[in-house]
């Protein structure tokens, strides 16, 4: 097909792609936004015009090549256009997280030496103006939505900027084309700031080539075409959104849809019915919970149908979608019936009727959750990547989807594992550098051009990458086998009964674990079987509860045993803690990550007991209560053994 | 001149009978806010039942209470099966229901007693009273006079019932404000039953009089239509309105029939009352005895 971008080599910058689409599919909808009650639509040709006016406007205002343009706000077409406009002028758009407070703006604005900013509305304008005094470079602020800004001094409206642009364009014919022509694939096309969980955020500089290659790889991998549509609702500053809503859209020429407001996303999703969708695991989780809650007050008949057909779906749904052979005709029939009565309607109410490809990433996703969506016919897949790699390293191929891997190396990507299992990647999608941070850049990208992801992983028999932990957390058992605590803990936490888990084993002969039961689900479980308990500590020590936990642990062991590199780290002994791990007691971070080291030494007694082979251990702990008072919790903790499997046996079994 | 008075008085006398029917409407509307379109059917039903019982060789003094009992029973059934389930529905809905009820009752009546026209003799001849015609040359029908007497009597009884008895007072309370009535513990449903019962009784009397005059037949149901203009004239909620309205309608109708009718080919009594009432309303929307409504917002 002639309209296939990579047919002609010239299309190596985003502005060129934009003009290309304006030419070959000028009347195809490029952007939609729910505004004034309907989906306002802009075709590629119109977008090209808008961008042209905007670019000229910026130029007229003195924006020059290499300058950086801050872009702050919810997903709005005009903000996406602003990126293209900046790129046309050889400038670098810097999308920023719109929900950050003014104080956090200051750092990025200074670090990127921002002089020009295009922001969404009064809220953002206020924050930027608040930051302005402490940002010497910042001089020009433009806003999209004029509401409430009539009497603001020193800020200019988007319309005005474009008017200026059109005049400038008339005055300097050919300027725009010339600017587009100057662009080179190696030029930095965007600067995305890493959220910076460790230390200050770093500006990741990505070249046109990187994102275009990533976009192209993704589109070809999932056969995305101009006919597709995506709902853009995740922060523009996040690499994923830039890949899906900008790079891929610019490559394939499909339609971007911007919701009316952040609290109408669900309804807007239902109206648009995207064919291509991304969401972090928690969103899928929330959706599932909503479904379950709604179904609870549905009529008996519906509930029965739902249960009945969900079991069918669990049994064969995913297989049927993957076109796997060997699904009995009866099941196929039932599934067909189910998709009329339940699955179809369910996809419909979720707004997922038309989804061809849905991705999730960013955190470990529970197997049940993952299976649910796939079983009702939603092609949910996982990918792996980071800001430094344009969110583009591994993708799960249709038919080759597994919940515990992140798929195979994406087109054009080389993956290699270091001795301690750290994942290293090389390819066109790698970042150029961290802005003004040669040191950090050097640390991350080695002389061979491999980028150290900082994640530890294993590559299984059929080439699927499995991310198991942060590399720095990975240790070794005294036997020499790799020990990845997070991986084990996550596996345990996927069970609804287990809230938190802490695995020990570094420099020890075997793996042992602390468990926190989930008060909610275990509580219900206990009530259903009439087990009386006074509180968490009491419930935690019930023999039945230990049995319950043991089952979970042993299931995990079985799974671990199946994997050569992890078989050694099966959990031999465990105990259920007498109190819930709590950020207030510094046992968890505010983001609820276990602070393993701290826990280990706080409960040294228990750890010793685990490895000392004792079956019971008394412990007293100081705890802080909600109201700030603190008190003692004392308990005799039972310590249990869990069955472990030797690999051969499991291999035989499966 | 005396002819004029003859017509006028005749009109007034039959007017009282209109009032009688109208009264049935007013009672029910006051107490339950229902525009009871089945009132005509009730009249028909009552009369037919009475005659029917008479045919079963029941003496007058037995047939009367018996019919009364039937009417009360009917009222009870209606309250139980129709009003109660429809409580708090918009008035138009209840109105429609009563039309359905009318169909039902008419069907029932004819089912029980057959549809053929019957005479009803109350021992009153529809003949002029001799000495009046002698004195004034006006022909005033005995029957009309008697009927008027009965009607007047009934009205008086009702008036007493309303103002003197406990039930009557409760009834007025309900009419004024349902919620309040409920609040002070007046059993709304009983009240409704009673009201419909009373309305039934009124229907019985009206039925007997009209029946005796025009024969007991399906046409009795149209008596209701006679009463409607009386209602708009007098107001849905006003007992005196119903009475005075009836007199006005009765008189003017007769007069119009006699003095205007001939010029337009007669048969105008069907619509004249309505047009009259209508014109009146256009001049005075609040009706005869209603006081001016200030629409506050």
């Amino acid at each position: 097909m002639p309209s296939d971008p990579h047919a002609s080599p010239a299309l190596d910058t985003f502005p060129r792609l934009l003009l290309h689409h304006a030419e070959v599919r000028g009347d195809h909808p490029a952007y939609r936004e729910k505004d004034l009650g309907i989906w306002q639509t802009w075709t590629w040709r119109q977008v090209a015009e808008e961008v042209r006016a905007l670019a000229c406007g910026l130029a007229a205002q003195g924006f020059e090549r290499g300058m950086r343009l801050a872009i702050i706000g919810d997903n709005r077409p005009r903000l996406y256009w602003s990126m293209a406009a900046a790129q046309t002028l050889g400038g670098i758009p810097v999308p920023m997280y719109q929900d950050a407070p003014a104080a956090e703006f200051v750092f990025v604005l200074n670090d990127a030496e921002i002089a020009y900013a295009i922001v969404e509305d009064q809220e953002q304008v206020d924050k930027v103006l608040e930051a302005m005094p402490s940002v010497a470079s910042l001089a020009h602020v433009y806003y999209d939505d004029p509401r409430g800004l009539r009497n603001y001094e020193g800020v200019t409206s988007f319309e005005r900027l474009q008017e200026i642009g059109r005049e400038f364009d008339r005055a300097h014919p050919g300027f725009f084309e010339a600017e587009v022509a100057k662009g080179r694939a190696e030029d930095v096309s965007v600067m995305l700031y890493t959220s910076g969980t460790t230390g200050k955020p770093k500006g990741v500089c990505q070249a046109h080539r990187a994102f275009i290659e990533a976009g192209r790889g993704g589109c070809e991998f999932d056969r995305l075409t101009a006919a597709d549509r995506i709902l853009s609702y995740l922060p523009m500053a996040w690499v994923g959104d830039h890949l899906f809503s900008y790079a891929q859209a610019m490559y394939a020429g499909f339609t971007i849809n911007c919701p009316e407001s952040s609290d109408t996303v669900m309804t807007d999703m239902r109206e648009i019915g995207p064919t291509f969708y991304f969401a972090p695991p928690r969103i899928f989780e929330n959706l599932l919970t909503q479904v379950m809650i709604r179904m609870d007050d549905a009529s008996a008949l519906k509930q029965w149908l739902f249960r009945r057909f969900m079991t069918v779906a669990k049994r064969c749904g995913a297989e049927i979608m993957d076109g796997k052979p060997g699904v009995p005709a009866v099941d196929r029939l039932l599934y067909g019936l189910g998709s009329v009565l339940i699955y179809g309607p369910l996809r419909n109410v979720l707004g997922m009727s038309r989804i061809r490809v849905a991705y999730t990433a960013g955190a470990a996703i529970g197997p049940d959750l993952f299976r649910f969506y796939r079983s009702i016919g939603i092609n949910l897949k996982q990918l792996y990547g980071s800001t430094e790699t344009c969110a583009y390293v591994c993708l799960q191929p249709d038919g080759g989807v597994r919940f515990d891997t992140v798929g195979i190396a994406a087109p054009g990507v080389e993956i290699r594992l270091t001795g301690n299992g750290e994942v290293m990647v090389r390819g066109p999608m790698l970042m150029k550098e961290y802005y003004k941070r040669p040191d950090a850049t050097a640390e991350t990208i080695d002389p061979e051009g491999y980028l150290h992801t900082g994640d530890a992983g294993v590559i299984d028999a059929d080439g699927h990458l499995k991310i198991i932990d942060r590399a720095k957390d990975v240790g070794r058992l005294s036997g020499g086998a790799m020990f990845a605590p997070n991986y084990i803990e996550n596996k345990l936490k996927f069970f609804p009964h287990i809230k938190e888990a802490v695995a020990f084993g570094d420099k020890r002969d075997r793996v042992c674990a602390f468990i926190n039961i989930d008060m909610g689900s275990v509580g219900n479980w206990a009530e259903r079987r009439g087990i009386a308990y006074s509180g968490y500590t009491d419930l935690a020590q019930k023999p039945e509860v230990y049995e319950l936990v043991r089952e979970c642990v042993e299931t995990v062991n079985a799974e671990l045993a199946a994997d050569a590199s992890l078989a050694a780290s099966q959990v031999h002994r465990f105990l259920v803690l007498h109190k819930e791990l709590d950020p207030d007691d510094d046992e968890l971070t505010r983001t609820r990550k276990v602070r393993r080291g701290f826990v280990a030494q706080k409960y040294a007694v228990l750890v010793d007991a685990l490895y000392g082979g004792r079956t019971v251990q008394h412990i007293e702990t100081l705890v802080k209560f909600e109201d700030g008072r603190s008190g003692m919790v004392a308990a005799d903790l039972r310590i249990a053994d869990a069955k472990t499997y030797d690999r051969a046996a499991v291999a035989a079994a499966t | 001149m005396s002819f004029f008075f003859e017509v006028l008085i005749g009109g007034l006398l039959s007017g009282i009978m209109y009032s009688l029917v109208a009264l049935g409407f007013v009672l029910i509307y006051k107490a339950s806010g229902v525009f009871n379109f089945a009132q005509g059917a009730l009249v028909f039903f009552a009369a037919l039942t009475f005659v029917g019982l008479g045919e079963l060789k029941l003496p007058f003094w037995l047939a009367l209470p018996a019919t009364l009992a039937v009417m009360v029973l009917l009222a009870f059934v209606i309250e139980r099966l129709m009003l109660r389930p429809l409580v708090n529905q918009p008035q138009i809905t209840l109105f429609m229901a009563t039309i359905g009820l009318a169909f039902f009752i008419e069907g029932l009546a004819q089912m029980m007693w057959g549809a053929n026209v019957r005479g009803l003799d109350l021992g009153l001849q529809d003949e002029p009273i001799q000495w009046i015609s002698d004195k004034t040359g006006m022909n005033i029908s005995k029957f009309d006079l008697a009927a008027a007497g009965v009607a007047a009597l009934l009205v008086a009884v009702l008036a007493i019932f309303f103002n003197r008895t406990r039930v009557g007072r409760a009834l007025r309370a309900v009419a004024d404000d349902h919620q309040a009535a409920l609040a002070v513990g007046i059993p709304l449903r009983q009240i409704w039953t009673i009201v419909w019962g009373v309305a039934g009784a009124v229907a019985l009397v009206a039925g007997l009089l009209w029946g005796a005059r025009n024969g007991v037949q399906y046409a009795l149901t149209f008596v209701a239509l006679k009463a409607l203009p009386v209602l708009i004239l007098g107001g849905f909620e006003s007992v005196p309105g119903a009475i005075v309205g009836g007199l006005i309608i009765g008189a003017s109708e007769k007069l119009a029939e006699v003095y205007i009718g001939p010029f337009v080919g007669g048969g105008i009594e069907g619509w004249f009352p309505y047009v009259l009432a209508l014109v009146f309303l256009l001049v005075r929307p609040e009706g005869l005895f209603g006081e001016k409504i200030i629409r506050r917002i």
């Binding site: 505004d35 004034l36 009650g37 309907i38 509401r147 409430g148 009539r150 009497n151 009316e260 407001s261 609290d263 109408t264 309804t267 | 001016k292 200030i294 917002i297």
Partner: protein, 263 residues
């Protein structure tokens, strides 16, 4: 909220010696005051002081027995509701007077009925002007829905909405008429604190964005003092005070009659 921009102009509404009574009951006695262009004018007073009656006189729901109303220079014995509407007076009611069975959108659309010229025939055939108008007006209405942030309930029947939102919808309907003078009858009655704050913001935004002159009745003194430029105080149908919030606050008579007893 920077209200510095709007210029308070000359009086556009002036009431002279208005007296109104129902039957024997005197609702208003010889009341005179004016409202200047672009200002926010508050009417306060204890219950039954005749505040609502005042508004009803201004937009012609009630006809005063004595007095004159001059609006935009034209002096009248009394208003009639239709003239009021067509000359740019819109209002909301104390106890919400929305069209319960209609959707929010339709309710607001009715606010623009005066802007629609197509005959019922054109509408029946859904041709030409009728269709065009419908869509043009819809766009205007959507802008207002946007402005008052009620997009999410656009198609909900107002009957199903919580009180606070209904109040907002009623304001939207009034705004849809693009009024020059907006009468608000206790716009914040029965609202919780957040709702009140929102409503205040909206009222000031309206006054500022569209330069709409606003006359409002309000009980919450805090609100009144915050948002109004001048205040009229009524008591038992008589005017007992008139001036800036501070002046009124200081006024002995007012304090006795109202603030004293109310707070």
């Amino acid at each position: 909220m920077a209200t510095g921009a709007r210029q308070i102009g000359d009086p556009i509404l002036a009431l002279e010696g208005i007296s109104l009574s129902f039957g024997g009951v005197k609702a208003l006695t010889d009341i005179s005051f004016d409202v200047r262009e672009h200002e926010v004018r508050a009417i306060i007073g204890p219950n039954g002081a005749g505040k609502s009656s005042m508004l009803n006189v201004i937009n012609g729901v009630y006809r005063p027995q004595r007095g004159t109303i001059s609006f935009r220079g034209r002096v009248r014995r009394d208003m009639n509701t239709h003239d009021a509407a067509s000359h740019g007076i819109a209002r909301t009611f104390q106890n919400i007077a929305l069209f319960k069975s209609m959707s929010v959108l339709d309710n607001v659309m009715t606010g623009r009925n005066l802007k629609m010229k197509a005959s019922f025939l054109e509408q029946a055939l859904w041709i030409g002007r009728a269709r065009r108008e419908e869509y043009e007006q819809r766009e205007k209405v959507e802008a207002i829905i946007d402005f008052l942030e009620i997009q999410h309930i656009r198609k909900t029947p107002v009957g199903r909405l919580p009180y606070g939102l209904q109040k907002r919808v009623e304001l939207a309907r009034a705004l849809a008429a693009e009024p020059t003078l907006l009468l608000l009858d206790e716009p914040m009655a029965g609202m919780n604190v957040e709702e009140k704050q929102d409503m205040c913001r909206f009222i000031l935004d309206v006054n500022e964005q569209y330069g709409t002159t606003i006359v409002l009745i309000e009980h919450d003194m805090g609100v009144v003092m915050d948002i109004s430029d001048r205040v009229v105080v009524l008591d038992y149908g008589k005017k007992i005070g008139d001036g800036t919030p501070d002046e009124v606050r200081a006024d002995r008579a007012v304090i006795d009659a109202y603030l004293g007893v109310a707070r």
